[in-house]
Symmetry: C2
């Protein structure tokens, strides 16, 4: 684990202890569809949630690369918790990018200490470019938010939500609709998390649910960035170096280790056919991780494209690796309760997360032909 050599705040023992707690409760989280309180407690007290927050706000001042490697490690034991952390750090990054000094002082210390967990709420069902979660100004000049968000990771367990709200009518055409969207920081008291059971196929410990806003009234202090400034913030996030690909790489690594352990335990190491299959899987993992690392280091020549590509590649590699490892392990790996069975379902989740891989390909393709291209 490379992270243990470079960290300066999570000691090997405490990271190992967090990983072992997560591993222990991941099965029950998946089985019940409930994030386990023991996992959350261990996460909150780990110091990890403040990793990339500057020390002046109570954080550890680590780099995005560091956070990315940590998320990768978390995903080797519990991809659901890894995605919760990823979403938390996206909100943190947004605050660092666009937050007012007052917002930073209000939220970052709590998000650093683990007292608060943050979640993002962007998705809606079938709404296309325009959003149906609408914010309008009331007579006192405050904002009133109404609507429903789907697939909110950390719903119910988060203390702060970054919510994408339509603040200019979405009838104005696609581009105008997108530029009429605003991010709001909304505390849990104003949010209703709807489902209590997870209906997801995988990532069942991530508390990914619907949330609703019933006439939530917010002052302008809750706007992150400018009114209508959501596009700019989304671009900044895409180039932040945080990529969902890190989770997929962790899943792939965990799956690969399952195959390796199986081959050793069953005395199959001399099979050249298995050796070559392992070599093939290792190659894909190595490539996906190299691209994810390059994005996390922000050293790509075209960070915007590479960020999207890293998510597409790593998620599809992890699906392929999980499938092949399940083939190697055989029927046992098809049983609920076997880790590879869970990992395979979790792996599918990343390919479906926004932007879903086909949409991401369309975005990248459009950018390749329409912007001055550089390698």
């Amino acid at each position: 684990m490379i992270i243990l050599q470079t960290q300066n705040f999570i000691h090997e023992a405490s990271l190992s202890s967090l990983l072992s707690t997560l591993e222990k409760h991941a099965y029950l989280a998946d089985e019940t569809g409930q994030t386990q309180p023991e996992s959350l407690r261990a996460l909150r007290s780990s110091g990890l949630l403040g990793s990339i927050i500057p020390t002046e706000y109570g954080g550890k001042g680590e780099t995005i690369w560091f956070a990315s490697k940590l998320i990768e490690q978390l995903a080797t034991v519990d991809p659901s918790i890894a995605i919760v952390v990823h979403q938390h750090l996206l909100v943190v990054t947004s605050l660092l990018n666009k937050g007012s000094e007052k917002q930073k002082r209000t939220y970052l210390p709590k998000l650093s200490s683990g007292e608060w967990i943050a979640a993002s709420a962007w998705s809606e069902t079938g709404s296309g470019a325009g959003k149906q979660t609408v914010g309008t100004k009331n007579d006192e000049g405050n904002w009133v938010i109404n609507g429903v968000k789907t697939f909110t990771t950390g719903a119910g367990l988060a203390d702060l939500y970054l919510v994408l709200v339509q603040t200019v009518s979405s009838d104005a055409g696609t581009e105008a609709a997108q530029h009429g969207q605003t991010f709001f920081l909304i505390e849990k008291e104003q949010v209703v998390a709807v489902d209590t059971q997870s209906g997801l196929s995988g990532m069942r410990g991530s508390s990914t649910r619907f949330i609703e806003f019933h006439r939530s009234v917010l002052t302008s202090d809750h706007i992150l960035g400018e009114v209508g400034g959501s596009v700019e913030l989304k671009i900044a996030l895409r180039e932040s170096g945080l990529t969902l690909g890190a989770i997929s790489v962790g899943i792939s690594e965990a799956a690969f280790r399952i195959a390796l352990d199986y081959v050793e335990r069953k005395g199959l190491a001399a099979s050249q056919s298995l050796q070559v299959r392992l070599s093939e899987l290792h190659m894909w993992i190595d490539a996906a991780r190299a691209l994810v690392d390059k994005v996390a280091e922000r050293s790509s020549d075209n960070l915007k494209l590479s960020a999207s590509q890293s998510k597409i590649l790593a998620s599809e590699v992890s699906e392929k690796v999980c499938r092949e490892v399940q083939q190697i392990v055989g029927g046992t790996g098809y049983m609920r309760g076997h880790k590879i069975e869970r990992l395979y379902r979790d792996a599918r989740g990343v390919s479906l997360m926004g932007p879903v891989n086909y949409l991401a390909r369309e975005m990248v393709g459009r950018e390749i032909v329409s912007e001055p291209f550089r390698f």
Copy 2:
């Protein structure tokens, strides 16, 4: 071109001038199977051949990463010359690793200035682990070398050859045979380059030929490293950061640009189908390059495996990219004289270069199951 931002000795103008000379003569080199004198002259005078040689030996003291990016750039215009440079730098790296001070003082200044080009001669036809190029000691204590080497890149044009010679009988079994092999530095006067025409399908400007040794007599000063020390040197080269994958990445980039230019010129940029196909190719190139860069930076956690994987992945990606670009361009790209037709044949070459990709997969697979594994 990232290289132009980081270089400290090749100015943008002189690199551009080298690339344009190479591009201009690459077609004729391919057509005739002869490395073109203009290309060689431009290469020798570029300063590039001494890039990674320390300044005390007349070089530029650049990193392997720098050399790797340069080779990638050369391959975008002429993969044949890129492979000549790659082989030259492998010999340079070997000298830096294992050369005596006397050998370094003798050879490195000439290899720095471009007065000399170096080549490697390892391969033999059908000889397996043991080599048929044999060195024996004569009564004066000198070595007498006899034998034939196949696929020697730069044969006939090189001034210095690094030659793998069997110095203990190869009848002693596979492992003993490999440990009975020694590298010799042999100057061109003692080497006969056999073919004068290239019979290769691609990489036809690389002067890759048979060479022969007819009772070449050499003092022990010509041994690089120890007698029987070839295995150690091969391992060091594998972990040097130089990977043939850099050439494949350059080929892929050049092919991709052909598709991009075609799509623009033909007014096809609005085709979403083409956009998505371009996005897919770009993703594979991005991944291959990320892995090659990681090897060149020597920042992989398992450099030995990643080095092999980078060559396998990048070469197969370049074949796929060339094929797809030929499909996009259509029949014109199937004509001799079209760059994509040449690049596709050149791309195949890297997959076949030693160790050929299937053998490399077997090596990696064996290492995965037999050594303590770490990601």
